[in-house]
């Protein structure tokens, strides 16, 4: 019958219109500033530097090995190596970045820096309310702005953070075991060979 | 010679004069509609309401748009390159002025019209309807026939020749 399709369509929209007042679950809009959608775990925005312990500059895992700077496709990471060293989490003295800038307006959040970083020092953040009034300096984040604690990392990416920590712990345990084995071998060699002055003992692994 | 009549007359004359003298044809049509609306106001002032509204409906609504479509289709919308008036414009306007002079003389020297102004004849649409249906029934039929013929004729004339599709 002529117009049957129109009537069906009108009935459908009327059902939608009245339904939206009756059942609340039809309306899926999230009123943003007041309500917030649950944060999706795997979402990522811009990278940040992870630090262990409490002091952001001391606990930085980054040893400024420049791999991420070389790998970054849009070239938005700029690192300057420090001249002196500082002990890292396992106590081994390592270099640290004197300056570590990421130009957030250039970064395309491709996560390549995270994949290539051998020290799990850089991870992807998912904070998105980052508006700034100045287009240049405000979007060039320095080391202080990038450094965030490992606990924050656990907050935003719990599973991934747990996996990373487990890996680090395992790596440390292996180095400690290797260190212990090399110490035992050195001790055995020392017994066989004439006594040589003992090297300062490695201070073992103190797991955080 | 009330003020209202003068305004309407001025509107009409300005509109029509502009329609005949402007270069760009689209401006001509727009000023023509101004003139025609002025004419409709004159009809209303004369008490012929029905004719005034028909005039606006037919001319402003249809004929002006038709002329505009024709201008669009014959690609003469922009101001023409060659002068807008034909070579024999002088003699043309001279003839028009002579015609106006003759008419004006004829009107002014006509028998002095009666000074008493008859009252405004109240014509209602019903009277027009009755007159159309009774006294003027035959012209109404003929007009209907003529309009249909013109409708079909205009379409046939303007339709492109039906090229036999390959």
């Amino acid at each position: 019958m002529l117009g049957a399709g129109i009537l069906k369509g009108l009935a459908e929209t009327a059902r939608n219109f009245l339904g939206s007042y009756v059942s609340k679950d039809r309306l899926t809009t999230v009123q943003f500033p007041e309500e917030r959608a649950p944060r999706i775990e795997a979402s990522r925005n811009f990278p940040f530097l992870v630090y262990d312990g409490t002091d952001p500059q001391e606990g930085l895992r980054c040893v400024s090995c420049f791999i991420c700077e070389k790998e970054c496709p849009p070239k938005c990471i700029f690192i300057e190596k420090s001249t002196d060293k500082k002990p890292d989490a396992t106590g081994k003295p390592q270099f640290y970045p004197a300056r570590f800038n990421i130009d957030v307006s250039v970064c395309m959040s491709c996560q390549i820096c995270v994949e290539v970083c051998p020290f799990d020092a850089i991870k992807m953040d998912n904070a998105f309310e980052l508006s700034a009034t100045d287009r240049f300096d405000a979007l060039l984040w320095n080391k202080q702005q990038l450094a965030k604690s490992n606990n924050y990392y656990h907050e935003i990416h719990p599973t991934e953070a747990a996996a990373v920590d487990a890996e680090l712990a395992a790596a440390r345990a292996k180095t400690a075991a290797a260190a212990a084995a090399s110490a035992a071998a050195a001790a055995a060699k020392k017994l066989a060979a004439p006594p040589i002055p003992p090297t300062p003992p490695t201070n073992g692994d103190d797991i955080l | 010679m009330t003020l209202f009549f003068l305004i309407a007359a001025a509107l009409t004359i300005v509109g029509t004069a502009a329609a005949m003298s402007l270069r760009n044809p689209i401006h001509c049509i727009l000023s023509l509609t101004l003139g025609l609306v002025g004419l409709a106001v004159l009809y209303l002032q004369l008490g012929a309401q029905f004719v005034g509204f028909t005039q606006v409906l037919v001319y402003v609504g249809a004929v002006a748009i038709l002329a505009v479509f024709a201008i669009m289709m014959t690609r003469s919308a922009g101001s023409p390159q060659q002068p807008a008036f034909s070579r024999s414009w002088l003699s043309g306007s001279a003839v028009a002025v002579v015609v106006f002079a003759v008419l004006a003389w004829a009107i002014s020297s006509a028998l002095p019209s009666t000074k008493i102004v008859p009252p405004q004849p109240a014509v209602s649409v019903n009277q027009i309807g009755d007159a159309l249906m009774h006294k003027f029934a035959l012209p109404l039929e003929i007009i209907g026939l003529l309009l249909t013929a013109a409708l079909i004729g205009a379409v046939i004339v303007a339709m492109p020749e039906r090229r036999e599709t390959p």
Partner: protein
């Protein structure tokens, strides 16, 4: 200058403006507009004579004006149809160039 004379003078002026347009304009469509104007001038006369004439109840003036408006509309339609056909044939609406009757 009785009101009737004023209207007659006005319609005479309208008529001559239309005539001037018809005789001087180059574009065919504007010539047609000139003819429309002349028809309108005649209409104004009809209504003026109906209003100030002796027997307004007969409604002849109004009837004539209505029929003339209808005819003018039909004439405009057919006229523009012809202009379109001529334009399609000769690619111009300039009347000075349309001086040959050859098909």
């Amino acid at each position: 200058m009785s009101p009737l004379n004023a209207y007659l003078l006005l319609s005479a002026l309208l008529f001559s403006i239309g005539l001037a347009g018809v005789l001087t304009r180059r574009n065919a469509i504007l010539v047609l507009i000139g003819i429309e104007l002349m028809l309108n001038a005649a209409n104004l006369n009809f209504i003026a004579f109906w209003r100030y004439g002796p027997n307004p109840a007969a409604l002849t003036g109004i009837m004539f004006a209505i029929f003339s408006i209808a005819i003018a509309a039909a004439e405009a339609a057919v006229g523009l149809g012809i202009i379109l056909a001529v334009y399609r044939h000769t690619k111009t609406t300039d009347l000075d160039q349309l001086n040959s009757m050859k098909g």
